[in-house]
C-alpha cells in the first residue's frame, strides 16, 4: 500500500502528477483550481523529479505549451476552470487532430461567461461532445472523491499515451477544495530519453539518420487525406468505447428506481439513496466514471429494469441526453438540476425523485 494522506482534491491532482512521472505542467491561475499550481510550486518537483512547472502568460499559451511538449512525447498537462478551458479549445482540437497525448483538468464552475467560482457540471457538453471544432472526442474522466482525483491522473496519462489522445478530468470546486483520505501510488520515474524514443516512435525528438522526418500536424489540405485522418480517429474512438468504459453501481440489485449522476452529484445521490431507502423507497445509483466512453449498454441494462430514472446534474440537463440515447423510451427518465454554482442537497434530490418519478 502507498502513502496515506489527508489532502484537498486539487493538491491530490498535483501530487499525483509528480508521482505519475509527469514531465511538465503549464497553467494559468484561476479559481477554483489554483491549488494545483500552488502545490506544485511549493513542492518544487523540478528538484524532486525534474518536472517543469511553468506559469504561462495565458490559458492559450498554456495549452500550446502542452501541445509542444506532447509533440516531443513528454507527459504534459494543464489545469484550468471553465472560462480558461474555453480559451484552450483551439489547442485541444489541434492536439486531437495531431493525435497527441495530454492531460487537461477542468474544475468546472458555474457559467456561462465568467459565471461564478462555485461548483457546477455545466461543461459536460463541452467536454464530452467536442468543445473545439471538428469530429473529435476526448476521453473524459469524472472523479467523485479525492482518491479518484489522484487515481485519474495516473489513469489519464496511461490512456492518453495508449491512444495518443488528449484526456480530460472533469472535476469541480467542491471536489477540488475538500479534504479526504487519499492513498498515493509510489513514485513512477520520469521516462528517460531512450525510453521515450522506444515508447513513442511518433514523437519529434530530433531526426536520426536512419529514419524519415516525423510530421506532427492537424493540417491535411487534401480532402481524401483529411478523410483518412478522420476515419482513423473514429476507429480509435470506437476502440476506446469497446475497452475503456468505467462505471459504478451502488445498491442497484434490488432497486426499483435509479439515480444516474457523475462526480459530486453522484456523492450527493449516494446520500439521497440512503435517505430514500430509510423512507422505504428502493433506489439505486448508477455513476458513470468515464463520460466518454459513456457506459451505454450498462446504463441501458440497469436503467431499463427500473420503474423510473432520475438524472441528477449540476446543470440544466446535459448527460440526460446520453442516458436517453442509451436507454430508449421504455422507462420514464426525468432530470433534476441546480445551476450556477448551487449544489443540490440530498433532501432536494429525494423530493425530486418523489415528485418527478414516483408521484409524477
Amino acid at each position: 500500500m502507498g502513502e496515506l494522506k489527508l489532502m484537498k482534491g486539487n493538491e491530490a491532482i498535483a501530487e499525483a502528477a509528480i508521482r505519475a512521472g509527469c514531465d511538465g505542467y503549464f497553467g494559468y491561475p484561476i479559481t477554483p483550481q489554483s491549488e494545483v499550481m500552488e502545490y506544485l510550486m511549493a513542492q518544487k518537483p523540478f528538484e524532486r523529479t525534474g518536472m517543469v512547472v511553468l506559469q504561462a502568460e495565458s490559458e492559450v499559451a498554456s495549452i500550446n505549451m502542452v501541445y509542444g511538449g506532447a509533440g516531443t512525447g513528454k507527459k504534459v498537462m494543464t489545469s484550468s476552470s471553465s472560462p480558461g478551458i474555453s480559451l484552450m479549445q483551439e489547442g485541444i482540437s489541434y492536439m486531437a487532430g495531431a493525435e497527441l497525448p495530454a492531460l487537461i483538468v477542468n474544475a468546472v464552475r458555474g457559467g456561462p461567461g465568467l459565471g461564478t467560482i462555485q461548483p457546477s457540471q455545466a461543461d459536460y457538453f463541452q467536454a464530452v461532445k467536442g468543445g473545439g471544432h471538428g469530429d473529435y472526442k476526448l476521453i473524459v474522466l469524472a472523479p467523485a472523491s479525492v482518491q479518484e482525483m489522484c487515481d485519474h491522473v495516473k489513469l489519464g496519462f496511461d490512456l492518453a499515451f495508449k491512444y495518443r489522445t488528449p484526456v480530460m478530468i472533469l472535476s469541480d470546486g467542491a471536489i477540488g477544495q475538500m479534504m479526504e483520505k487519499v492513498v498515493f501510488f509510489d513514485q513512477i520515474p520520469r521516462r528517460t530519453d531512450e525510453e521515450l524514443m522506444k515508447e513513442c516512435p511518433w514523437a519529434a525528438v530530433g531526426k536520426p539518420k536512419n529514419r524519415e522526418h516525423i510530421r506532427i500536424t492537424s493540417l491535411d489540405l487534401d480532402p481524401a487525406g483529411q478523410e483518412r485522418v478522420n476515419l482513423k480517429l473514429q476507429a480509435k474512438y470506437k476502440t476506446i468505447e469497446e475497452n475503456e468504459i468505467l462505471y459504478e453501481e451502488i445498491q442497484c440489485k434490488d432497486a426499483e428506481y435509479l439515480f444516474v449522476a457523475f462526480g459530486l452529484s453522484a456523492r450527493i445521490c449516494q446520500k439521497a439513496t440512503d435517505l430514500a431507502r430509510a423512507k422505504g423507497i428502493k433506489v439505486g445509483l448508477f455513476r458513470p466514471i468515464t463520460l466518454f466512453p459513456f457506459p451505454i449498454q450498462q446504463i441501458a441494462a440497469t436503467g431499463n429494469r427500473m420503474k423510473g430514472v432520475l438524472v441528477v446534474e449540476m446543470n440544466a440537463g446535459q448527460m440526460i441526453e446520453d442516458v436517453k440515447l442509451s436507454m430508449g423510451s421504455k422507462v420514464k427518465i426525468e432530470h433534476f438540476g441546480r445551476f450556477g454554482g448551487i449544489i443540490p442537497s440530498p433532501d432536494e434530490v429525494v423530493n425530486a425523485l418523489e415528485q418527478k418519478i414516483i408521484g409524477g
Partner: protein, 183 residues
C-alpha cells in the same frame, strides 16, 4: 457510526483548523473522513464554516444540509445553522457575542464560554481547541492518543512545541461545558 458536523464562526477563530485537526485525528484512528470548507463568496463577509464527517463507512455526500452536531461561534452562524441540526442532535455554542440564544427544544444545547476562558488564561490562540474539547467531551469520536497524532499531522513541524498547549486547551474545554435548558 457516522457523525456529521458543521463548525461555523468568524474567519480567524480557527474554525477550519479545528475541523482539520478533528479530521486528521479521525484519519489516525482509521476512520473515513471528509472536510469540506466554505470557499469563495461564502467566505466574504467574515464568516467561515466547514463540514466535517467522520465515519466507519464510506462517506456519501461531503455537502449536507442537516447535521448531527453544530458548533457555532457567532450570531450569523447561529441564524444559519441552528435550524440545520437534526432533531435529537447537538448544538454547542460560545455565548460570547451571541445576541439571540438558541431556542429549539428538540435538540441538546450546550454553551461553552471558551472565548472568555481563553482570554483569562492567555490562551486565545488555542480558543478553538477549548471548543473542540467541549465537543469531544460529549462525543468522544477520537481518543486523546489519536488527537495527539492528529495535531502532529495537521500542525507544521515548527509548531509542534505548541501541541501540549493545544492538548491542555482541550482538557479545559471538557470542563467548561454547560447544559442549556430551553424553557
Amino acid at each position: 457510526m457516522t457523525e456529521e458536523i458543521i463548525i461555523a464562526g468568524f474567519g480567524g477563530q480557527g474554525v477550519l483548523s479545528m475541523g482539520k485537526i478533528l479530521a486528521y485525528s479521525g484519519v489516525m484512528q482509521n476512520k473515513e473522513v471528509s472536510w469540506m470548507p466554505s470557499y469563495g463568496p461564502e467566505m466574504r463577509g467574515g464568516t467561515a464554516n466547514v463540514t466535517v464527517i467522520i465515519s466507519d463507512e464510506r462517506i456519501s455526500s461531503p455537502i449536507l444540509n442537516s447535521f448531527d452536531t453544530a458548533i457555532i461561534l457567532n450570531q450569523q452562524s447561529m441564524d444559519k445553522f441552528e435550524k440545520s441540526v437534526k432533531p435529537g442532535g447537538l448544538l454547542i455554542y460560545d455565548p460570547n457575542g451571541i445576541t439571540r440564544h438558541p431556542n429549539r427544544k428538540d435538540i441538546n444545547i450546550y454553551s461553552i464560554e471558551a472565548a472568555d476562558e481563553a482570554g483569562r488564561l492567555g490562551l486565545s490562540k488555542v480558543f478553538n481547541m477549548i471548543v473542540l474539547g467541549g465537543f469531544l467531551k460529549l462525543k468522544p469520536l477520537v481518543s486523546p492518543e489519536y488527537l495527539h497524532k492528529g495535531l502532529e499531522k495537521s500542525l507544521p513541524e515548527r509548531h509542534h512545541k505548541l501541541i501540549p498547549e493545544n492538548e491542555k486547551a482541550v482538557e479545559i474545554g471538557m470542563k467548561l461545558l454547560k447544559a442549556v435548558q430551553v424553557i
